[in-house]
């Protein structure tokens, strides 16, 4: 299975995402924002970073870049697409996911190992989790406050499309403690925390077992393998 990772000017975590994909057992494929070519991949990751220096709005200019024509078409035809942090912002700017991300409530950049609850295992990116499972993966953002109008929030809750929720501490003022959401079909998922930074023992969050041994992010990439190969 081949999973594309799109690099935009200012992407930071594209290589970490590729590494997570490789550790999960798939082949990462480097894609370029300026191309109109998905190179026949089976799934897509829009990585974190500060595309275009966060100019205009986070993810806004990237959402209009050439490759997004193909990304939007693929997403609408059911290809699994994951947006992490800045990638999540791009997916909202491209209207593939509802709502938007605004500056953190307290105004400052937050970087921490974040507890989350996996609220939905019905998406192509979360099928390898147990419903309601608690996980810990790193979070690092300045503009991660998830907002949407009341009707949209209600619909997301009712349809089980809140995929991840902050547990214990809401780091950015997100409505309903929302850390990640899915589209109706469950193939497009966006989240602010970074699963690709919790994929290999020695480099993840601390756990009760050992320092930096947390690999909870890995199952996001394993989930898509299972969904696509199933």
């Amino acid at each position: 299975m081949r999973i594309g990772v799109v690099t935009f000017p200012g992407s930071l975590d594209d290589r970490d995402a590729a590494r997570g994909i490789r550790i999960a057992g798939a082949e990462p494929v480097a894609l370029w924002h300026g191309d109109h070519d998905l190179q026949g991949v089976d799934a897509l990751v829009l990585p974190g970073g500060f595309s275009y220096g966060d100019y205009l709005r986070c993810g806004a200019i990237a959402a209009h870049s050439p490759i997004m024509t193909e990304v939007i078409a693929a997403a609408n035809s059911g290809m699994p697409v994951l947006g992490i942090c800045n990638g999540f912002q791009m997916l909202t700017e491209a209207h593939l996911l509802p709502g938007g991300l605004i500056r953190n409530e307290k105004g400052s950049f937050v970087c921490r190992d974040q507890r989350l609850r996996v609220q939905s295992v019905e998406t192509q990116w979360t099928s390898a989790f147990e419903a309601g499972e608690e996980i810990v993966i790193p979070l690092k953002n300045g503009e991660g406050g998830y907002i949407a109008d009341r009707d949209t929030i209600q619909r997301l809750e009712e349809e089980g499309r809140v995929v991840f929720r902050y547990l214990g501490y809401n780091p950015n003022g997100s409505m309903n403690d929302i850390a990640g959401v899915a589209n109706e079909r469950g193939n497009v998922v966006g989240l602010m925390p970074h699963p690709e930074h919790a994929v290999e023992p020695g480099f993840g969050p601390d756990t009760s077992a050992a320092m930096r041994s947390g690999v909870d992010g890995l199952r996001i990439f394993r989930s898509v393998l299972e969904s696509v190969l199933a």
Partner: protein
């Protein structure tokens, strides 16, 4: 050449942490008569040629699709300014 000005503000019901930070600074400076601050954006689009209805229609479209995000912001003004 004429310039078209587009102004975009964060939606009134949303928290504007930038504005809140500036309001806090004003309080610390003793300017307590200013109770709140909101920060928006002003875009200046220079046009090569006359500003006709088709250009204005284009600007309205650009303002909604690129310059603002209707989920979090409102376009509050579009106007033409003639610069010498």
């Amino acid at each position: 050449m004429p310039t078209i000005v587009v102004e975009v503000m964060p939606k009134a019901e949303l928290l504007d942490p930038q504005g809140k930070a500036v309001a806090g600074a004003l309080q610390r400076l003793g300017k307590s008569e200013f109770t709140s601050v909101r920060i928006g954006k002003r875009f200046e689009l220079t046009v090569d040629g006359p500003v006709d209805d088709s250009v204005l229609a284009d600007v309205r479209d650009i303002a909604q699709t690129l310059l603002s995000n209707g989920v979090i912001e409102d376009v509050v003004a579009i106007r033409t300014e003639d610069a010498e």
